[in-house]
């Protein structure tokens, strides 16, 4: 995104090109233009632009994409961690 980049080399996005059927859905939903279609298969073009929103993985009809999507703010992650060690019942969202 113009003028905004976040930490490099951390995104957990993974594409299984074998499974991909080249439907182009990931290209349509990704707000950061991470994908491009190349020879009727999706291709990851700019991994560092991925914000791990999960839109591509949710909308891929053949589950060729995985990404550790979810709460992306400090207090949300702390709540999730508290929930995982049973201090709190549920991890709450960010916004």
């Amino acid at each position: 995104m113009n003028g905004f980049t976040y930490l490099a080399n951390v995104a957990t996005l993974q594409l299984d090109r074998e499974t991909c059927i080249g439907c182009g859905m990931c290209v349509e939903v990704c707000p950061h233009q991470v994908f491009a279609l190349e020879r009727r298969k999706a291709e990851v073009r700019s991994l560092d632009n991925c914000m791990e929103c999960g839109a591509c993985a949710v909308n891929c009809p053949v589950s060729a994409l995985t990404v550790d999507a979810g709460v992306g703010c400090a207090s949300g992650l702390i709540n999730e961690w508290l929930a995982s060690i049973n201090v709190r019942k549920t991890g709450s969202g960010c916004c």
């Binding site: 995104m1 707000p31 992306g72 207090s75």
Partner: protein, 298 residues
Amino acid sequence: MSYLVPPGLYAIGMPGAEAPVVVTANYKMSYDIVRSELAGRSVWLLVLETFGINVWCAAGKGTFGTDEVVRRVQATGLDSVVSHRQLLLPILGAPGVAAHAVAKRTGFRVRYATIRAQDLPAFLDNGMVATPAMRQLTFTVAERLILTPIELVSSVKWAVPFTVALVLLTGLSGLGFSLTTLLPVIVACVGTVLAGAVVAPVLLPWLPGKSFAVKGAEVGFAWAAILTWWRSEGLAWHDTMILFLAVPAVSAFLSLNFTGSTPFTSRSGVKKEMRLSLPVMAAALVVALIVWCAGRVF
């Protein structure tokens, strides 16, 4: 003022069976923007129950999601209202909605239209094809400013009790409860919250570094410097030290929290930042506390 719009099917203009169906959240602001952008056209507006939360945040929570789309399509009897089988969704709603699942369960095909509601008219005029610009995420000052109340409201929960406690402590520690002694404490606390939750988000692209915690700390340092300069007379050395330790730490945490509202920070990135910055923030606060205690004793 209510921020909720009852979910359901709304008509803009005089839509017929052929008119497009635009899906949005029942957050008052999203609803109003979509309505005013589409004014003068004939469009169906399907409002989902997202409990007054905007599309992007609701998609993350899953309330702007597959199940709710299916439920609302069925509850409104949409298939007998329109003759086509197409829903237009905002792109930022995609993390919550599986297009293929909606198609399977309702027969309606989900099309992700644009990111901003402002581009909807152009999208419709363009034969429902999104141009690259319509898919390009932006994060302008205005867009950032709209999100800051979310941070402010959630920080009020702990910031107000904390400020009250600090005011009581200051009052009880021999200074008495007068406006001159208490006002600086209140100004410092309120300012710190504003520094991390409003100023840092607004200045985001201009603050050096990529780390949100660092950006927040920078604004915090600036605020501590302003406070020190303003109070240069009556400030003991240990108070100055506390300001420079605690204010950037709190401001850094608030900025780090703003990552939850930004449309470009990744969860893994925030995790990494937290691993590195939380110990530093905690250490700064502990040292500040020790200095504070020491300052009261000696």
